[in-house]
Structures are given as structure tokens and as C-alpha cells.
């Protein structure tokens, strides 16, 4: 049987569109609100990335940092994050969940404990930003044993040799970082160039679902209609910040934004 992540891609493919992946930070701006955001956007998104906030994030730009600091300031703890996911999974329209975070949070929880808890709360995949290949070899095997997708990252600086090695060791899904940037940077590379790199990855590894992330927004998302999947993160975090600043309901605003994103790629 296919795992929920692969099923989500399959479903999107059937509808002849890329899968839409969203990223929001767990606990932003509160536990309850972040759960409500997940519930609302799961009407339009196919896979939900849930960020584990960390206070020394070396790969995140301003918007996600702001969200993470807000969540930490409001007291979010690792166990609360698991709770958010398990509550979300009980909701009627739940979608596959991928955790995205930094290795220290996993290391402190204990790798095995962490994976057990992921399994119990229904986390389907993991992206660990600062645990690259080959350092992640042992951990990624542990993930597989627990039926959790360990998602490898690829970037424009990844050499061809690395690309082959990484894709060989990857599970069902891989994540291509569109450009040299932290999250939320302005797309400084042409979609054509990004797609050329995407094609290169697909050629090496045609069966794996490859998503593109970093710098993807409402404005440029329609350029990437012929891909397996797209991740939008910083723009959503920014919308949460904007809503809070304007005393508007982030749940409604973010949900509206994700619905629009979905329309643009359908």
C-alpha cells in the first residue's frame, strides 16, 4: 500500500496538477490558532508541512523566523507540537503531515523517542534542514523502519555526483531548493532555470516525487504547473504576521490565500 504522502501526489497527478504543500509554524501564533489554520488550509492543500520552531534557524529568512519566535515566545513545546498534529489528524479533512525542523530538536528528544511520537501522532514525513546527506544516512534508515518518509533536500549547489547519491538514498519524496537563498527570498532565478534543474532531477530519479520550494508565491506559482509539487511557506507566514498586525483573523486570511494558490495551479 502506498503511504499517505505518495497517495496525495497520486491524487494530484490524477487531477493533472502539482500537489500543493503548505508550510506553517506549529504554535504560530498560539497552539489553538495554528491547529485551526491547519484545519482550514487542509481544504485546499494536499500535504501540510508543520514547522518545528527553533531559535537559531540558519536556513530561514525573516518571515519564518518571525513566526518561529512568535510561537516560542508563546511557550510552544515539542509535546504541544505532537498534540497539534494528533488533534489535526482527528479532524475530518486531515491531510498528510510533514515535520520540518532543525536536528537539535530531534536530538534532544532522542531520535527513537521522536520517531515513536511521530508515528503515534500521525506524522508522515520529516525534513531536517541541517542534517544533510551523508550525515543523515542512519537516521533516514530509522525513519524508513518507522514508515516515516525522510525527505532529502537538493539545491542548485548540489553536484551531479551528490545528486545521484542523495536520490538513491531518498524515500518517496525529494525537495528541490529553487535557488541560493534562505526561505522566503525573492525568486532571483528564472522559472525556466529552476525547471531545467527540476528536469535534471526527474531524469535521474523519475519515480520519486520532487517538489520545489523557496521563493514560491502566488505571483510565480503558475509557472510551475507541470511539476510534482510546490511548497509555499514564507508567504503564508507573512500573511499570518500581516493579519495579526491588522487585527484580522489569520485563519480566514491564510485559508483564502491557500485557496487562491490552489486555483492558480489547477
Amino acid at each position: 500500500m502506498l503511504n499517505p504522502i505518495s497517495l496525495a501526489f497520486k491524487k494530484a497527478k490524477k487531477e493533472k496538477r502539482p500537489a500543493l504543500l503548505t508550510y506553517t509554524v506549529a504554535g504560530d501564533s498560539s497552539k489553538k490558532q495554528s491547529l485551526n489554520i491547519l484545519k482550514a488550509i487542509s481544504n485546499y492543500a494536499d500535504i501540510l508541512e508543520v514547522g518545528i520552531p527553533h531559535n537559531t534557524p540558519v536556513a530561514d529568512g525573516g518571515q519564518i523566523q518571525t513566526s518561529a519566535y512568535r510561537a516560542i515566545k508563546n511557550g510552544i513545546k515539542m509535546n504541544d507540537i505532537f498534540k497539534i498534529v494528533s488533534d489535526f489528524n482527528k479532524s475530518k479533512n486531515s491531510k498528510p503531515v510533514i515535520f520540518m525542523g532543525y536536528y537539535n530538536m530531534i536530538f534532544q528528544y532522542g531520535e527513537s523517542n521522536f520517531l515513536n511520537k511521530c508515528k503515534k501522532s500521525g506524522v508522515n514525513g520529516l525534513i531536517v534542514v541541517d542534517l544533510p546527506w551523508p550525515e543523515n544516512k542512519i537516521f533516514s534508515k530509522k525513519c524508513k523502519k518507522n514508515s516515516i518518509n525522510f525527505i532529502q533536500l537538493l539545491s542548485p549547489t548540489t553536484s551531479n555526483k551528490r545528486l545521484k547519491n542523495i536520490t538513491k538514498d531518498s524515500h518517496d519524496m525529494i525537495y528541490y531548493i529553487s535557488m541560493l537563498s534562505t526561505t522566503g527570498g525573492k525568486l532571483k532565478v528564472s522559472p525556466k532555470k529552476i525547471l531545467a534543474n527540476y528536469d535534471k532531477i526527474k531524469k535521474i530519479s523519475p519515480k520519486k516525487n520532487c517538489v520545489i520550494g523557496f521563493g514560491i508565491t502566488e505571483k510565480n506559482v503558475s509557472n510551475f504547473k507541470n511539476t510534482d509539487g510546490l511548497v509555499v511557506g514564507s508567504q503564508i507566514c507573512k500573511e499570518i504576521t500581516r493579519s495579526l498586525n491588522n487585527r484580522q483573523n489569520p485563519v480566514i486570511n491564510v485559508s483564502r490565500m491557500v485557496s487562491k494558490l490552489r486555483d492558480k495551479i489547477s
Partner: protein, 414 residues
């Protein structure tokens, strides 16, 4: 866990960059893998390249001004009454601190690899000041990331950076100190690593940066060994080397050449920043038994909460105000080669007062931490014990803080 003899500690890491199998490594985003690998290849080649070493030594000698003085502190020795107290006055180096060695090596490497821009982090402002000096010297554009809180408290160094033509970029995230400056600098590198070289200001960060920095600051102990032999005929039988430890670059450099000596002969004492006496916060992960965690790409003992969020530190000294510590020092601690302890803000200030009262030397707040412990311990030692404190920075940068804490008159008269 064992320290090997005959191999430089910087080269004792395993294939993945871990010392003792668990400290260091490369916990970095995929994007940085390639530039880090490039840097590793370049460094491994250059460190054995006679021409490069010659070039380095030429700049060290003619521009940085090596060797820095090794002096006896006669009055302080008399005042303390015990061991002979000496100082290696590394603050003699061009720019006023040891950070110039690492900055120079990084700029030399950046130039060779054709990079036009170099970026760096800074806490006390020395790493930034030196990088801006070296960048200017070698014709590179320079950007320095510095916590907004540190910008306020280390103005003289900020001014120097700007005068050298560097962009000083204030970092407002988190605690607005060194830890956030390093994060922001790494983030900038993630986005610009194709055109830009990064210099990490201490023996921290991904393994290659730990190695380059340790290799560069080892100049201090190379000089000291020669000076000791000139002075005493040999390395003394009872030698104690005191050094403050923030990230750990000056202490590692101060000790490296003596690594293979028995610790009964050459003892290393690292002094961390204990923070204000009344505060629970500190910057002394080794002394207070912090757990291993990942910070800025490396596994190390680091102040953190149970979940793994990095904790804010507190210290009067911006240069020591860092929640983690070099993997090299974690390794030296666990192999028991070095001993680590802490001095509080108040103790460091007191030591500054004592040193400046008795000697014509003005250690900055960082080495004042080391002086504090050395003065305390030297009392108990025999007269043939040689205590050396690395005075790795000059107090000029601290005059705002010193004025506030000790009064205007005191600072002016010194």
C-alpha cells in the same frame, strides 16, 4: 575518547568532521555542502603548501607584527605572592587582538579562490574589526554581522569597522548578541555562497571553520614556545596556561603547540564567562555542565532548554557571550587535557582593576576573566611555577562599560 599525539588536534576529527566521535561535524543546509567542501579541499591543500605558509608568515610578521611580547608581570607576581606571573601580550597584534590571525588567513584563502566579498560575524567587535582590516588590506568587500546589543556596547570597534569600509549589519533577532550574529551571517552565506566567502570569527561553526581558525591562532603558541625556550632554556617543568574561553579561538591557539606535553608539566586552564553573580544566566557551558546540542552547524556543549532551544546568555564581556563552545574544547574537556572553570562579571572587573593597578597592561574584559582565576590560583603555586595569561585583547573597546562600572576617573587614569 583519546587525544592522539603527534597529530595536530585540528586534524584529529573523523571523516565526517567529528572530534572524539561526537563533537563538531557539519550540521548545515544542503546548499552549504558544496562551498564547505570546496573550502575543505582548498584548506587541506594550502596548509601543506610551502608557498602559502611563506605568504602567511610574511603577512603575520610584517603586517600583524609577530611575535607579540612575552613579559613578566613583576609587580603582580609580588602582589600575589606565589607562582611567577607572565603574560603573552597578544593584544600587541595589529588591531589589538588575536582575531587578526584567522581574519588574515580567511582573506588570503578568499583571494585565492577568486571571491570578491567576505562576510563575518562578531561579538566584541574584534573579529569584525580584524576582518574589515584584512579585507581592506587584500582588496575584498566586507560585511560584518553584529548583534544590535553588541553594537551598542562595543562602539569603538564598530567605528573601526566602518572606517575600514565594512558594512556593519545590525542583527535584531533573538538576544541581539553573538549567537544571533553568527546565525544571520550563516543565513547570508546560504543565499550568497556562490560569490561570497565566509569567515567564522572563532573556532566554532562547521568543522572546516573550526580547523581554519585553530590553525590560524596557533601562531600564538608557536611564538610562545620559542619565547619560553629563549627565556628559560626549555619549556618550564611547571607551566600553567590561562586563557578565557568564549568560542575558544584564542585559548586553542595559546595551547596548541603544547598539546603533546604531559598535563602535569603544561596545564591548560580555560576560563569561561560566569555572568553576573546574581544572574542564573551565564556563558559557561563547560563549567556548568550543559548538554550536548547542535549550534551553528556543530555538535557541542551548549546552553539550551529541554526541548533544544538555545538559551540566552549573559556576560559583561561581549566576546565571551556565546551559549556554545568550540568542539575542540569539548574534546579537550572530555579527554581531560584541559581544565575549565568560570569567572563572574564582578570577578573579571576586579581582576581588571588589579592588573591595571600593578602593571602597564590593559587586558580587555575577556582576558580579565582569565586573569581573575590565574591571580586566585597563583597564590597556591610554588615560586618555580610559571603562570602565563594570554592577554588576547585590549580594553580600549571596553571603555564605555568600564566607565559605567568603575567610574570615569578610573578609566581615564588608566
Amino acid at each position: 575518547m583519546k587525544l592522539k599525539k603527534g597529530i595536530s588536534v585540528i586534524d584529529q576529527g573523523d571523516r565526517l568532521g567529528f572530534w572524539g566521535g561526537k563533537f563538531g561535524g557539519n550540521f548545515v543546509p544542503e546548499t552549504l555542502k558544496k562551498p564547505i567542501e570546496d573550502l575543505e579541499i582548498q584548506f587541506n591543500k594550502l596548509k601543506n603548501d610551502k608557498n602559502f605558509i611563506k605568504e602567511r608568515d610574511r603577512y603575520f610578521k610584517n603586517w600583524i607584527g609577530t611575535p607579540t611580547r612575552f613579559i613578566k608581570l613583576n609587580n603582580l607576581t609580588k602582589y600575589v605572592g606565589g607562582a611567577q606571573i607572565w603574560s603573552k601580550v597578544v593584544s600587541d597584534a595589529n588591531g589589538g587582538a588575536h582575531k587578526i590571525y584567522n581574519a588574515t588567513v580567511h582573506c588570503l584563502m578568499a583571494k585565492r579562490s577568486g571571491k570578491k566579498v567576505i562576510i563575518g560575524d562578531t561579538g566584541a567587535g574584534y573579529a569584525g574589526k580584524m576582518l574589515s582590516m584584512a579585507a581592506k588590506k587584500f582588496g575584498l568587500k566586507c560585511k560584518i554581522f553584529m548583534g544590535a546589543k553588541d553594537i551598542k556596547r562595543q562602539q569603538p570597534n564598530v567605528k573601526a569597522m566602518k572606517e575600514n569600509g565594512a558594512d556593519v549589519i545590525p542583527v535584531y533577532s533573538g538576544s541581539q548578541t553573538l549567537v544571533d550574529a553568527v546565525s544571520e551571517c550563516m543565513r547570508y552565506w546560504v543565499a550568497n555562497c556562490d560569490t561570497t566567502a565566509m569567515c567564522v570569527g572563532s573556532t566554532v561553526g562547521p568543522a572546516i571553520f573550526v580547523r581554519i581558525c585553530g590553525w590560524s591562532t596557533s601562531q600564538i603558541s608557536r611564538e610562545l614556545k620559542v619565547q619560553l625556550i629563549n627565556e628559560f632554556g626549555d619549556v618550564p617543568k611547571k607551566l600553567k596556561l590561562y586563557n578565557c574561553v568564549g568560542g575558544g579561538s584564542s585559548s586553542f591557539g595559546f595551547w596548541n603547540e603544547f598539546m603533546d606535553y604531559d598535563k602535569k608539566q603544561v596545564e591548560f586552564i580555560g576560563v569561561e564567562a560566569g555572568g553576573p553573580t546574581k544572574s542564573k544566566r551565564h556563558a559557561a557551558p563547560l563549567t556548568y555542565g550543559s548538554k550536548i546540542g547542535i549550534l551553528h552547524g556543530a555538535a557541542q556543549y551548549v546552553n539550551q532548554n529541554r526541548d533544544g532551544q538555545i538559551e540566552e546568555t549573559e556576560s559583561i564581556s561581549a566576546g565571551l557571550d556565546y551559549p556554545g563552545i568550540s568542539p575542540l574544547h569539548c574534546f579537550l574537556k572530555d579527554t581531560k587535557r584541559a581544565r575549565y572553570t568560570a569567572a563572574s562579571d564582578e570577578e573579571a572587573l576586579k581582576a581588571y582593576q588589579i592588573v591595571t593597578k600593578y602593571e602597564n597592561l590593559r587586558p580587555s574584559l575577556e582576558p580579565s576573566h582569565a586573569f581573575s582565576v590565574a591571580i586566585k590560583e597563583a597564590k597556591r603555586f610554588s615560586k618555580d611555577t610559571i603562570v602565563i595569561i594570554n592577554s588576547c585583547g585590549d580594553a580600549y573597546k571596553d571603555r564605555g562599560i568600564l566607565e559605567k562600572k568603575l567610574g570615569k576617573k578610573y578609566v581615564k587614569s588608566n
